[in-house]
Subunit: 409 residues, 2 copies
């Protein structure tokens, strides 16, 4: 099955917004055994949209069009599909009633222009939209399928997940492609590459590496006639990767480091507190991105100056002796966080996010310490000197080191 | 001038990475008076890349190809351009020498496979890459231009900025398109839309609205033969928007709220401290995303539980009486932050990021208070109940309210 995606919207061609729908859909299609060959962005111009649709109709089995389903004059996806197929649009009374009742619930009278969203052609049926006013279109003709989805990512993802994906998977048969992502941290990309090289030459499953902000991800992709067979192939390759990478693996697929660490803290009934300097609150904010983090996260201190570190009880003599960018200071901060906030574990981070060097130490220098009373752990690194990256990578390292400590507790 | 972008890379079609190069280039092209009509993503398959190149060659004046310039077998952009144009590639001795000296600097012998990056065709000249090994290609033939740029965004942006943009602008003349983005906060999209509707029907300059996480952005775009004329048109429209939107406008173009507020604090020689509950450190982290924020930001407290709020000196009786989700508690937190960290201004935020309601109040409830001693300000809102959005919107509101207070100081 050959698929292509057509993203409509002049905003895309002006660089005003980034298309996140295509990557989302692109990552979903392989699981249905569908190969994606092209993604085309085209502006809100009917002649050009029809041209692109025509080409897609000639070369692809499944065409997914995103955007252009709104009520305004600039929304011309429906018109373009009708035009390309030479079919005539007609307002569907049932869809009009759906729209009217939607507006009624919002306590607003339906604007006249929204009626346009109730149009259909003979080959199309509507796909319900629970998140907005724009129904999608499912078009079938000559063994080909066109799926038109609304542009807002929340509406698109919900419609895909609840309506389109089940319908497509019922429709299709044949080869299934399954992917598994294995997430590591603490080992540089080149080293991971070298370690897993025996698996890199395999063509089924294939292995690919991606450097992400939360470490190196490895993607296994297997293709088979049956889902069970593909899963078996993935499982065997995964077992080999586990034996090679061991503890450097922290998660799989949609796993998020802060959630996994949070689960471990909750399970072990341990509480956490932080004291941050160069990361400026990003560690606390990342920890509290996880719903339910109040179960284990007590609080955080952001001490952005030496004066504030002292005010929060870090030993002034230590700071005078060592400066603020020092492993011992990180350890003192971790201990202070633990004691002051009566937590089981404290994390301290000090370093230089940049752009200027501090105390003669280079931008990117970071010292992290974890203090769990008897058990302690520390880590120092020099990251590439870009402020946002230094903050982000320091937070990932702190969480990864916390995970390693928790594994031993 | 009609341009199109061809993004190569199978990762894009698997949804493994999001193409940020196309939005970047798309936002740059209008400033050169170039209209972008198409963006196509295509996998690392020479037949399909050649097909896409052929179509582009037939319909566009400028074709920008991104990715596929690396040293591996999968990097086939050079080969595909040569193939499409029917020209033969030849290794350029000077480029080989450049590569060798680059590797010499890194203390590594150049791998044999990198020689492929020194290939040229008769119509191409190399574009220097100061950030990596892959030179770009500048191809001119039959009045058309093909520009091949490396995939890594840092390399691409640098090459665009330093090499391609100046060369293109020297080359081109004719109409110039200029855009100006005006950023507002504090007024809902529908209301902004209504307020600026008199300007919406204009076709030159055009006005478009975008709802962003930091408020509603308005984009003015003007087209004229001369840059000065286009700028004049933008300036006139901007003046009208200013008289309509007043204080709701907080910035322009690349302005970032936290940087602007930081500049105001620095200029007024005022210091800031924060105490956060539901935003969990995101306010402090956002403030410290700005280089040099240590000039005015003293520190932050993240009190994620009532117990921690009391430990940080928020009145226990107040908490017992009002609960934690209350405007008075926000005010007490702001005051505590200011006094405890000896800052001129304190900000307090309490609320419910979700997913569960607290104290019978709905998810999305947020109370923000700013305490500058005599001057105080407070703000309450109920945001759509999505955890990440609640955190982000609360931070934007806090910074926007701080800006409003600073304007009066």
């Amino acid at each position: 099955m050959k698929a292509e995606i057509i993203s409509t919207g002049t905003e895309l061609l002006l660089g005003q917004i980034t298309d996140t729908n295509s990557p989302y859909l692109a990552s979903e299609l392989p699981l249905l055994g569908i190969d994606l060959y092209w993604i085309t962005h085209v502006g809100d111009n009917q002649k050009r949209i029809v041209e692109v649709l025509q080409r897609a109709w000639g070369r692809s089995d499944i065409i997914i069009v995103t955007g252009g389903l709104g009520p305004t004059e600039g929304d011309i996806t429906r018109e373009s599909i009708a035009d390309m197929l030479g079919e005539k649009m007609k307002v569907d009374p049932e869809l009009v009633e759906n729209l009217r009742s939607l507006f009624r619930k919002l306590g607003i009278e339906m604007p006249q222009r929204n009626i346009k969203q109730a149009n259909l052609i003979p080959s199309a049926c509507a796909i319900p939209n629970t998140q907005g006013t724009a129904p999608g279109w499912w078009v079938e003709r000559e063994g080909k399928i066109i799926i038109a989805l609304p542009g807002p990512p929340r509406e698109l993802q919900r419609m895909w997940e609840k309506e389109v994906k089940p319908k497509l998977s019922r429709k299709l048969s044949g080869e299934v492609i399954i992917s598994r992502i294995i997430k590591t941290a603490g080992i540089p990309e080149a080293k991971v590459d070298e370690m897993v090289s025996p698996l890199c030459s395999s063509t089924n499953p294939t292995l690919a590496l991606y450097a992400k902000f939360d470490g190196i991800h490895l993607r296994l992709t297997a293709k088979a006639a049956q889902k069970a067979k593909a899963e078996e192939m993935i499982a065997a390759a995964e077992l080999r990767l586990k034996s090679i990478l061991g503890d450097a693996i922290w998660g799989y697929d949609n796993d998020i480091l802060e959630s996994l660490v949070g689960d471990m803290l909750r399970e072990k009934k341990l509480t956490l507190a932080t004291m941050e300097s160069c990361t400026g609150g990003l560690l606390a904010s990342t920890i509290t991105d996880v719903p339910g983090s109040s179960d284990y996260f007590k609080g955080g201190l952001v001490a952005y100056t030496a004066e504030m570190k002292i005010a929060f009880d870090v030993d002034a003599a230590l700071l005078a002796r060592k400066g603020t960018i020092d492993p011992e200071v990180a350890a003192a901060m971790a201990k202070t966080a633990r004691l002051r906030m009566k937590a089981d574990i404290g994390i301290g981070i000090t370093g230089i996010a940049g752009p200027d060097a501090v105390e003669g130490k280079p931008v990117g220098t970071v010292h992290i310490a974890i203090d769990a009373g008897k058990r302690k752990s520390s880590f120092s690194a020099t990251y590439p000197p870009r402020r946002a990256d230094v903050k982000r990578r320091a937070v990932v390292s702190a969480l990864f080191k916390l995970r390693q400590l928790l594994l031993k507790m």
